[in-house]
């Protein structure tokens, strides 16, 4: 079920939330579990069996790991990791592996007849697999007690607000809130008007980002990226910047709706985005973008590999491995691998050249104007991130290189936009650009308000500030129940 669908907004959410507050606390887990199944089965019902498999494996793995010691404990964790990644590999990477293996074998002159199974990727598979994995790893590390109640554990994996696109929660946060014993918190929350309103405001901000900005940008982006050889450099640059905004608004919009919906019911999900395009370096970007995933990789891959407490070449190697895996996590395609490799390279190059850059900025006196230095760094970071997005968004590797080639091989000219303008619905372009620019200005302000990091204006002004978002959605929203980009991951 899509958050931006009539079914969710008018039936599912009000019904589930209403029942949640009416039901006695002891039945709430069951309500949320049933609701989460309903939510998930709205996509491809049979794929709930995959979730059931993951839940069963990790439920028992958690208990057995807790009861075991030594080698057996490690073996159980390995079995859980293999089972989870096995499911992920089969459903997400079978086609990719089969296709590439076939190409390799055929290039060597042999016949290759392994069939493509035509598997449809279960929605949100990478998200709930990682969430479930984090539980067994935390139990293994002794940071988390194994959950004995299968229904509660199932709810931890399936909690509907973040089931299909995160944030990828950790048991220390979500499971403990589901099991809360403190009255008024987590599952024991009462109806609190202030908290409910805060949750609804965050949802509203999420819907604004998705419907007014992301889905509008998508119309322009799809046009250019759908036919890369028909558009000039300026059109490609514009579409790429718009995609940078689109993917941010799409994904962080989903996250805001998820966090808001959970907050209405008294759950605090982890922050997933912190205005990432205001980062002054790629390193900072990854501490502000998809935080739940980057921290997952940090805790369960980067640090176990040795992190930065190793010799330099090994440190760089660790970084590259993490980003290549992160690329593959996003999708089974070489474009994602290149995207990951680019980010890994950015980070390694920044480390290698850090002393040189420091000397250079000191030399030209940039250190004496910190504000200018900060904005310059932000500008450079946005360019690097946007460049990498070309590979993330392109339909295939060939297209991505066509886009890069066209972007840099010709001078930018306003006539580049002619084909694009002709292909778009009337006045789509100017309104999209205008709304996007407006969004760039208001995003940091609203972002802090909805995260309660800064107080929103009080009284009628505060009400109007959010009412404007609703009016904006009604008047400028791009409707049609379009899916969220990150669902495919």
């Amino acid at each position: 079920m899509l958050f931006n669908s009539f079914e969710f907004l008018c039936i599912f959410f009000p019904l589930v939330t209403g029942l949640y507050f009416v039901l006695p606390h002891r039945w709430r887990w069951l309500l949320l579990l049933v609701a989460s199944c309903w939510f998930y089965m709205a996509f491809v019902p049979v794929y709930i069996l995959i979730l059931a498999f993951t839940i069963l494996v990790d439920y028992f793995a958690g208990i057995w790991i807790e009861e075991s010691e030594g080698r057996r404990r490690k073996l159980l964790l390995t079995a859980s990791i293999l089972a989870n990644t096995g499911v992920l590999a089969f459903f997400k990477y079978y086609h990719f592996l089969n296709e590439n293996l076939g190409a390799l074998v055929e290039s060597l002159g042999f016949a290759y007849n392994v069939p493509d199974l035509g598997i449809i990727l279960p929605i949100g598979l990478s998200f709930h697999t990682f969430q479930s994995l984090s539980y067994t790893i935390e139990v293994y590390r002794g940071h988390q007690k194994a959950e004995r109640h299968p229904g509660i554990f199932a709810l931890y994996v399936m909690f509907y607000p973040q089931l299909v696109a995160g944030p990828i929660e950790r048991p220390g946060n979500l499971l403990n809130q589901i099991n809360s014993t403190v009255p008024g918190t987590g599952m024991l929350s009462r109806f609190d008007a202030q908290r409910v309103i805060e949750g609804l405001k965050q949802m509203l901000w999420g819907f604004f980002k998705k419907l007014v900005i992301a889905d509008r940008c998508a119309v322009v982006v799809d046009q250019v990226y759908g036919a890369p050889d028909q558009h000039g450099a300026l059109a490609i640059a514009l579409a790429t910047y718009l995609f940078a905004v689109q993917i941010y608004c799409d994904f962080s919009g989903y996250t805001d709706i998820a966090i808001g919906a959970a907050r209405v019911m008294g759950f605090n999900l982890m922050v997933n985005f912190r205005t990432p395009y205001r980062s002054t370096s790629i390193n900072e970007f990854w501490s502000r973008w998809h935080i739940s995933l980057s921290s997952w990789f940090r805790d369960y891959l980067y640090i176990p590999l040795g992190g930065n407490r190793v010799v330099k070449w090994r440190w760089y190697y660790n970084l590259m491995v993490v980003f290549l895996v992160s690329g593959l996590w996003h999708g089974a395609d070489w474009t994602y691998v290149i995207w990951g490799a680019l980010h890994g390279s950015y980070l390694i190059l920044a480390l290698v050249f850090a002393p040189l850059l420091a000397r250079f900025t000191r030399g030209i006196g940039l250190d004496r104007t910190p504000a200018l230095k900060r904005w310059l760094n932000i500008f450079i970071t946005v360019q690097l991130v946007s460049f990498a997005w070309i590979f993330f968004r392109a339909n295939n590797v060939h297209d991505s290189f066509t886009l890069v080639q066209r972007l840099f091989s010709a001078p930018w000219s306003l006539t580049d936009l002619t084909v694009l303008m002709a292909a778009l619905p009337n006045s789509m372009m100017d309104l999209t650009v205008l709304l996007t620019l407006l969004f760039v200005v208001i995003d940091p302000v609203y972002d802090r308000w909805v995260k309660r990091e800064a107080p929103a204006p009080a009284g009628l002004l505060g009400t109007a500030a959010f009412a404007v978002l609703l009016v904006g959605i009604l008047l400028f929203g791009y409707f049609g129940s379009t899916s969220f980009i990150y669902f495919q991951f």
């Binding site: 109806f191 009337n426 609703l470 008047l475 409707f479």
Partner: protein, 315 residues
């Protein structure tokens, strides 16, 4: 809970006020002579052309022997002049991509047994798989009844229709913005071109019939029954390469629907000579020649079955 409801009410009031201000501003501020609102979404259409002319000519208080409803097949394929020559007054209220969901309020608010003893409803497979938005936009923009527009806005379950309704109220129009000049009268538009090729690529669609449209078609039958209107379904000529999987599904569905409800279905889609290029002006729509030939056939059948009768013969 009281505090929550109070704050929600204030929020909705403020949002309502801001929305009203925004609509007034967008409809009153003009850029190059065009209200700004037309630049904010691709679903705002200029009022005018066939649908405008049709619904502004239609007089609900007048008696017609039959009314024709359905998609653009009707206003190009069912010629009221042929009916008139045979002594029947007929008006075509069909319009662009009109779906059963859009026809329902037209029957509900504009038709009854005194102005429409017989309703001829054209069935075209594409309108049963359609979500109705195209027709909702067309009718909300062009037909004059606010009641019909409001019903459609609600039935569509799409926020865009709220803006269309607001636009209707904020910018009431008394004349169309454009006219392509095809409209003749009585809801009929004349197209004289003929099809230049053999009919393009075959129709390969094989889509499920929309449950909403299915339900609305059933509701149209029941509404006609309640109002004492005789409903007859019909399909005009369909070129053989336009008969894809959706067409086959529609035919099966209509057979079942008509059998269950005991409603006649005059299906002309399989008539001989329908490949004749001189009868069509595009792959789906007939031109004046085709319309006249088809309408003659239709009137013959309706008379033979007793649904159209002259003067004292009327039941």
């Amino acid at each position: 809970m009281g505090r929550f409801l109070a704050r929600t009410s204030v929020f909705l009031l403020v949002a309502g006020a801001l929305y009203t201000i925004a609509i007034v501003a967008l409809t009153q501020i003009k850029v190059s002579g065009t209200p700004l609102i037309y630049r904010t979404g691709d679903y705002y259409k200029w009022p005018g052309d066939d649908t405008w002319d049709t619904f502004h000519e239609f007089a609900p208080h007048k008696h017609y022997d039959a009314i024709i409803l359905g998609s653009s097949h009707t206003n190009r394929g069912y010629d009221p002049e042929v009916f008139a020559k045979r002594g029947y007054s007929v008006f075509v209220l069909g319009s662009k991509a009109q779906t059963p969901m859009n026809s329902y309020p037209v029957i509900k608010y504009l038709l009854d047994s005194s102005n429409c003893p017989l309703l001829i409803y054209d069935i075209f497979d594409k309108m049963l798989i359609n979500n109705g938005m195209e027709s909702t936009v067309d009718l909300m923009t062009n037909q004059p009844s606010n009641r019909v527009a409001l019903y459609m806005a609600y039935a569509q379950r799409d926020l865009r229709t709220m803006n269309l309704m607001a636009l209707r109220l904020a910018l009431p129009l008394d004349s169309p913005y454009f006219d392509y000049g095809h409209y003749r009268s009585l809801g009929f538009s004349v197209w004289l071109d003929t099809l230049k090729d053999r009919g393009g690529l075959p129709d390969t669609t094989d889509l499920e019939i929309s449950p909403r449209q299915r339900n609305y078609l059933q509701a149209c039958i029941e509404l006609c029954r309640d109002k004492g209107i005789q409903i007859v379904f019909s399909s005009h000529y369909v070129r053989s390469n336009r008969k894809g999987g959706t067409y086959a599904r529609t035919t099966r569905f209509m057979d079942l629907l008509c059998r269950t409800n005991q409603v006649p279905y005059l299906d002309f889609s399989d008539q001989p000579h329908i490949e004749n290029n001189l009868w069509f002006h595009d792959y789906n729509h007939m031109n004046l020649t085709g319309a006249r030939i088809f309408t003659e056939n239709l009137v013959d059948s309706l008379e033979a079955l007793g649904y159209l009768r002259h003067g004292n013969d009327r039941p």
